[in-house]
Amino acid sequence: MTWNSWHAFFAMGGYADYVWGAYGFATLVLFWNVVSAVRKRKAVLKMLRELALADQAPKETGAQRYVSE
């Protein structure tokens, strides 16, 4: 195969900083995409739940009516 040892693999022929830097940054971006997308949907659900609870409260205030519009 291409690599004689794990050490050679991690060294990337002397380009370790650039190659692993690029792959590391790409991994961060991919993870950010998944996490932020999942969080966004959960945040919407949480907000809607809080609005629903506020609607069920005994007396509705003007502020709550404004938020739920």
């Binding site: 291409t2 022929g13 380009y15 690029a22 940054f25 997308a37 966004k40 739940r49 629903a52 609870l53």
Partner: protein, 252 residues
Amino acid sequence: MYKYASPKNFYALAGRLIPWLGTITLLLFVFGLYLGLYVAPPDYQQGDSYRIMFIHVPAAWMSMFVYVMMAGAGLVGLVWNIKLADMLATASAPIGASLTLMALVTGSLWGKPTWGTYWVWDARLTSELLLFFLYMGFMALQAAIDDPRRSARAGAVLALVGVVDIPIIHFSVVWWNTLHQPASIGSLGRIVSPTIYPSMLHPLLIMSIAFFVFYFTVVLIRMRGEILARERHTGWVTQIVRSGMEAQGARP
């Protein structure tokens, strides 16, 4: 087919598709990285630094593809007033922006050992940077307008004006002198009779498909969030919210 054009059915369909698409994405990434980092030989000129290509090129392709999707969806929303199209445009923007940033950063890290510099103000790099600002402008504009209809329309117009940047990025290495290498693939014909070795071409293609499926996975997750937010006054969203509350033990 038409029944999935309603936000309610699309929400359910997307929910079923996401685990499958996510699994396919993961398998493609594992296989692509195995071929690209382990199997492929070093380049005779660039050594192992060229392996950055396997993420840089797919990220750069997707930065343009996602923009075209965003502008196309914006156009459909503008002309036919289809809510799902507006949501597709809105959901695509942060993904496209992050992939553009990925293309710029990985390109910069590839440029240093290859050209001796992280950055050069040539046509390819500058037009790709402009693409990043177009995405950011789209998001800032949409965030600044509260009314969802007006927000979608304003974003679509901006995206459509910015679409001129896409051919400029693509042809920049042909039209102007640059440090950036010309396309190695460029057209379907080059995939059949490529100018790079199969051991390097295959990981590139697999990583590209991985990025492609990744985009659709994440955009569907984001669209589900958009649908809930924009359809919150409808009965079916209320039902989802209520069943979630009961599951959490909240007293109705």
